[in-house]
């Protein structure tokens, strides 16, 4: 496996007025991988991406793309990257084809190059049928595909995708995932942000979990889950006011690694379930605390997220969706 470094981020920081949006980020992205920035709304994902694509200047630290500085060599960086913004950055009045023609001129492609590449891209994202309709008639999924075609137009070495599937229906999401995998298979390095755990888990080769502008964990989804150690026992408690008492009782039992309190129960990470489970049940019995539901599973990415940030990424998901 090639481990050449595509992006080198060191001690990156960005402050807006008084808000510290990104704080001392350091990570590397390797060529040919799908690298994900996973974090809740407002974590600083878009800010990080905007610095990498040279649209924002960092207030501290630096980012190098193929050895080129994002500030000093901004112009050359822009020639090697493609970008798909978080907003549907689409001109309603232009057709799909006109979007690509405009970008072809902005990337200084010759008309011959443009006339071979554009039909190819339209075919790739399955928009040929709709290429000559104004974008205002497109569905959300179609707009997203056009976005991606626009990002691919310069034939980039690195493609940046900001929340590529935000708000899309399940089918469109799966389609976009396929496209992203396809790009990786063709040798493009992909850097994307997401606040969907399953997307990070199933699509990304490596992820950085970021929260409040800082990296909390970094690695492949499998590494992160294994690194957590132990399995997870989830308890749903009938009387919510008993949760704290139960947590206190469980905490000091043998074979227990960590206890996370949720509003309606506990997530308990255990070393060996055959020792821990009877002890937990006995503790609940002793407190006459009624358990409505018991779930036992190998660590999932949401367990990883909770373990590293102290909260669930889903807490603010509804807010995210209606944006």
């Amino acid at each position: 496996m090639s481990r050449a470094v595509a992006i080198e981020v060191s001690h990156l920081g960005k402050t807006y007025d008084k808000i510290q949006a990104v704080d001392d980020l350091s990570f590397q992205v390797f060529t040919g991988e799908i690298f994900g920035l996973l974090g809740p709304n407002g974590a600083g994902k878009s800010t990080t991406l905007r610095i990498l694509i040279t649209l924002l200047h960092p207030t501290s630290g630096s980012a190098k793309i193929f050895g080129l500085d994002s500030v000093k060599d901004a112009d050359r960086v822009r020639q090697t990257i493609g970008y798909v913004p978080q907003e549907r950055a689409i001109d309603r009045f232009l057709t799909g084809r006109e979007h690509l023609e405009l970008l072809a001129d902005l990337y200084h492609l010759s008309s011959e190059a443009a006339s071979t590449r554009i039909p190819h891209l339209l075919k790739l994202v399955e928009l040929e049928q709709h290429a000559d309709r104004p974008a205002k008639t497109y569905s959300g999924g179609m707009k997203r595909k056009l976005d991606i075609a626009c990002g691919l137009l310069p034939d980039p070495k690195i493609l940046f995708l900001d929340e590529p599937t935000l708000g899309l229906d399940v089918q469109s999401r799966l389609r976009i995932w396929d496209h992203v995998r396809d790009m990786r298979d063709r040798g493009i390095t992909v850097v994307m942000t997401t606040n969907y755990l399953d997307e990070a888990d199933r699509l990304c080769d490596r992820i950085a979990i970021i929260d409040s502008g800082r990296i909390k964990a970094l690695g492949s989804p499998t590494e992160l889950k294994v690194g957590l150690g132990g399995d997870v026992v989830s308890l749903t408690v009938g009387e919510h006011d008993r949760v704290d008492a139960l947590a206190a009782a469980v905490k000091n039992l043998p074979a227990i690694r960590a206890v996370m309190i949720k509003p309606n129960g506990l997530d308990i990470r255990v070393d060996s379930p055959e020792k821990a489970l009877p002890a937990i049940l006995e503790a609940a019995n002793r407190l006459t605390c009624q358990l409505e539901f018991i779930d036992y599973h190998r660590p999932r990415l949401d367990d990883v997220f909770i373990a590293h940030t102290g909260r669930s990424i889903k807490d603010d998901q509804p807010k995210e969706d209606d944006q």
């Binding site: 905007r50 694509i53 040279t54 649209l55 924002l56 200047h57 112009d75 050359r76 822009r78 020639q79 990257i81 970008y83 913004p85 978080q86 907003e87 549907r88 950055a89 689409i90 001109d91 009045f93 232009l94 006109e98 023609e101 405009l102 970008l103 001129d105 902005l106 990337y107 200084h108 010759s110 104004p134 626009c150 310069p154």
Partner: protein, 278 residues
Amino acid sequence: MTSRRKTINNEYWDPTEIFMKEYWQEIRALTMRWIRRLSREKFSMLFTLVQPMLFWLIFFGNLFQRAADMQVTQASSYISFLTAGVVVMTVLNNGLAGGVDLLFDKENGFLERLMSTPIHRSSVILSRFIFVMTLTSMQVLVILAVAWLFGVQPVTGLLGVATILFIGMLFGVGLTAISMAMAFSVKSHGDFFSVLGFLSLPMIFLSSALVPLSAMPGWMGFLAQFNPMTWAIDAVRPLILQGWTEALPHVGMVIVVMVMFDALCLYGGARAFRRAIG
């Protein structure tokens, strides 16, 4: 020498030639986009082109024909007096609205997409200037044509019309720069349109567009002197009504005033742009 040259399609190109070729490719593509957007909005295009002359020139001009005192306006008809005002008002409205499309581009992220491409940072702005200036010039020509139907013929002829277009452009550049600066600085488009509405009508009423300064209440006439619009109108009007000898001193003055006005607006615009885009 050859080491400084790059090859494109196996031909050798001078770096300056490449620069100019790429710059032109960007500006042409971006300008085409503005034109396409306008032409897709058929109704909007119609109203943009027709509204100023319909509303101001035809209605206002004929409505005030009897009410306006020819001794005061020093013109054979109120329409002939008003034509210069409508021409400059069109420049004003187009200029102040010149940043609107960029405002929407900023809000929906399209600007970010444009800026992530390896274009010269100034191309977006320049394309906008070219588009607004061309559109404005066409409208001015239409207004002069409609005025002509009502018997208003610029006495200085075609050269006079060219001079009018030139003055319009000088004024329009500064206004468009203000508008774009605002588009880049405002937090929401609500703010933008409030400021626009707040600026545009007083600019018209506190100028010599509708009545000469001499006929205004003292304080209004005083304020109107500082309005660059007044200077533009005072140069355009004699080009239509009186002739070169009367017009030339005003034309000279307005060029000086507008160069200063433009320098100020472009400086502010460039700062706002740099703050927003980096």
